[in-house]
Amino acid sequence: MGRSGKKTSTTLRPKRSLSSSDAREQLPSLVKDACAVTTPAKSLATHAVEIGPYNRGGAWLVPAADAQAAIERQESLLEQVAELEELIEDLTAASVIAARSRTPPEKWETLDGFAAELGLVDVLEEARAELQ
């Protein structure tokens, strides 16, 4: 039997789950435990305590160290994505530039000619005047 193409999602939950009233009673010790975490875990769920009515969750109490680390991970990933996007952009552009660089110089058009073809000479002149 082959695997179906449908992806299954798993919801990550903290090991510890409390009702709202239990969490209210235990809040000082929960905060104390959270403050004691100085080395962040790889996952936000590791040290988190799930709080919600009837132990059904809905809110997480997370140590600041873990939250800070998660924010830093996200920022780092966003930077990596931006770098990869730039890389893809550059590599894609390289093929376009290579193909178009074969066009002889006399076939290229001037900016004035380009604007005239588009009927945007006034826009070009206005922009040039602003830049001076």
Binding site: E85, E86, L87, I88, E89, D90, L91, T92, A93, A94, V96, I97, A98, R100, S101, T103, P105, K107, W108, E109, T110, L111, F114, A115, E117, L118, L120, V123, L124, A127, R128, L131
Partner: protein
């Protein structure tokens, strides 16, 4: 007067007709986008070293002196969706002449955009 700016003929013939189409822009917005493009080209003519210098690596030496200048509708907030790809002409007789190679969407969308353009060319749309 500034520095000379030359555009590859495909910019007007192939890039412009599809500029903003995939992004769902209406006719008025696409006209405004073209105006913004002309304004940005005027900026390049005044100062050729605008935008991000493209990083060339082994096998991609053609990207030397190339820049990517993002642009978008002037009122739009957020990351600019389009870019101008140009090269500062490296030849001695053309100091600071900018060669505009392409105008299109930023980032990895370019591949899809190019496919759409190819389809359009194949079908000979108006």
């Amino acid at each position: 007067m500034g520095y000379p700016v030359l555009l590859h003929p495909a910019v007007r013939e192939h890039d412009l007709p599809t500029l903003g189409v995939e992004e769902g822009l209406g006719d008025e917005e696409r006209l405004e986008l073209r105006k913004e493009l002309v304004r940005q080209l005027a900026r390049i003519g005044a100062e050729p070293r605008l935008g991000r210098a493209m990083r060339y690596r082994r096998g991609y030496e053609i990207l030397a002196d190339c820049h990517s200048l993002p642009f978008d509708l002037s009122e739009r907030k957020g990351k600019h969706r389009f870019r101008i790809v140009y090269k500062i002409d490296p030849s001695m007789e053309a100091v600071d002449r900018s060669l505009i190679y392409a105008v299109g969407p930023r980032g990895p969308k370019l591949a899809a955009y190019r496919r759409a353009r190819k389809r359009r060319q194949q079908q000979d749309w108006p």
